[in-house]
Amino acid sequence: MRGGSFSLRPRDPFFTASRRYVERTAVLETDFTTDSGSVRLLDLMPIDDGARALRPMREVLRAVEGMVGTVEIEVRFDLQPDYARRRLRPRQRGRLGWTYAWGNEVLVVRSDIALRLEGDALVGTVTLDAGERRYLSLAYTKGDPAVLPPLGAHAEERIVDTIHWWREWAGRCRYSGPYREQVVRSVVTLKLLTYALSGAIVAAPTTSLPEAIGKGRNWDYRYCWLRDAGLTTQALLALGYRDEALSFLGWMLHATRLSWPELQVMYDVFGRTRLDESELVHLAGYGSSRPVRIGNDAYRQRQLDIYGEVVSAAHAALAGNGRLDTESARMLAGLGDVVCRQWRESDASIWEVRGPLRHYTFSKVMCWAALDGLLKLHRDGALVLPPAKVEAFGRERAAIAQTIERRGFNAALGSYASVLDGDKVDASLLLMACIGYKEADDPRMRATYDRIHQRLGRNGLLYRYERFDGIDGVEGAFGICGFWAIDNLAKRGELDAAERRFRQMLAHANDLGLYAEEIDVASGAALGNFPQAFTHVGLINAAVAIERARA
């Protein structure tokens, strides 16, 4: 069984399509060309202050305009709510449009294209001459009487207001280096992945887009991973989006109160902690990649690196600029206590490898980063630690560093290793330079960089690790690991190499400048959920690193 769809395209099957975002916005523009003419389609989610005006809770607005000649367009709206487990028939509501109602939720479909019922789907056709414009609105409301968005001039106003809003927002981007267009696209994408009501940023808006076509590597990424926190905050701050960074930090400190002082790997956008995984066996899956999963059992995993991520996020957001409230300061200090108690234990680490827990070097590094960040926050006056805690955190930080240098570095391998006393590498070790544990030009870091490229590099891309994780199918190269390598090069001052590599990574984006989590090494195709926040965070941080190294 397949999911729902909302398609608009020329009836002539031999059309060509090209698309782009309206510059510095999240408004998508698609041109369809046929033998008889061309039309332009705008897709957007109108932005306005729903509290100050009477607006639908959510709306998707589509406007199609004839550009040249005459083109016959067909529309098909096939709603399959609740993952196609619920069957709904729309109700004709005269001039109000069509409604689908279930529970206390309602979806209103309005259009100045005549729609009719075909099976359970709404379909319609219209012939557009040059200059003619039609609108389709899909509005969702939960719990209240629906608000029915007008079409015509009013829809046009919403389009203009939304483009203006995005341009004003994108205009606040402080980055002025090369590749500004790609950096802006990345931060606009991060904004799109942000839940407006809480500030939480989801890893990706999709579930079960496969990491290996036709295999079982299909996961639900519609959650917020604390793993992403530090680097995401760093990226937002570097571009001048302090409000967004503080909202994200505030959400994290709020959400984690349920599990404090221990942290859970991930939460949903509301901060809920139970994210049980289940399989939707009735769905065919993308490219027959089954199962389609909802929920993610990774939430049960133990990852010690996330303590460092949360503290790093707080340090980045507050460094030299502000003081934490008493409750937040107490919470962060509590995380330090957990790190002191647990850093000697094993975990699943950043890559969430399913199976036995191990002593991952990267997790130890992030435990070091947690204590280092707390001591820096104390030094900067953002929080006040009692002297005994300062002494304990300092002592444990030194012990962690000693362990990493003694057991995390494998002299025979000539590199830091993925696990303590191990002989394999993984790409997370590149972050040791990005987060400030080690200078990028330190001999050990240089050697690690080289070994990682020797063992994990293919066609200018990097796999994340060299170990088989027991799941069927071979995954692609990890986009963000390539950007970490660029960050290392920039911090070493090797700017030409960094830029060359950066341009190479840009070539792997899709036609809209977006990335999935992974890239197929052979074909360059995007793999996994899409678009992926972490990859775009990597792009931003790598561009900023190049820009700062040039300055």
């Binding site: 100050r52 005006a53 005269g94 001039r95 309602v106 009487p145």
Partner: protein, 159 residues
């Protein structure tokens, strides 16, 4: 009877009725929000409409309490079941007469005849307010019955 009593009981009955209606929204049984419908008579700003709506709704609940007490006095019966019965009839009137009339008097409500305009965008309730969910008639009747029963019960206790 002390005049302050109907004021107090009217408030408590309104609170009970509001609790039932809010619960029906929260549990997904209905999308009817009387405060929003009332408040948008005055303003197109959702934040203000909800506040004004609640205020007017509570005042309305108080005023209706006096009518209920007038009813109890006029027939000399002060019992919870008479209050409940009055509430049920009140609810029926609301569903069958008052709410379906709204599109013709509400300045911000669309209708299936006139369509949607820049000013008129609110979804109309339809017959028995079922546009806001098929559970709406039942929940509205329940809420109004609770309102009347609370007033009747207080009158019974005071009597």
């Amino acid at each position: 009877m002390n005049l302050a009593y109907p004021v107090l009981w009217g408030l408590l009955a309104t609170v009970a009725m509001t609790a039932v209606l809010q619960a029906s929204q929260g549990f997904g049984w209905s999308r009817l929000s009387l405060p929003l419908l009332v408040g948008t008579f005055l303003t197109g700003r959702r934040d203000r409409a909800v506040v004004w709506g609640y205020l007017l709704y509570v005042i309305g609940g108080w005023l209706f309490a006096f009518l209920y007490f007038l009813l109890f006095d006029s027939i000399g019966i002060r019992t919870w079941w008479l209050g409940a019965l009055a509430g049920l009839v009140h609810g029926l009137f609301l569903l069958v007469c008052a709410l379906p009339l709204l599109p013709f008097v509400h300045p911000r409500m669309a209708s299936e005849y006139h369509g949607v305009t820049a000013r008129r965008q609110l979804e109309p309730p339809g017959f028995m307010a079922m546009n806001y969910g098929y559970g709406t008639p039942l929940m509205t009747l329940l809420a109004q019955t609770v309102y009347g029963a609370v007033l009747g019960a207080f009158a019974q206790l005071a009597g």
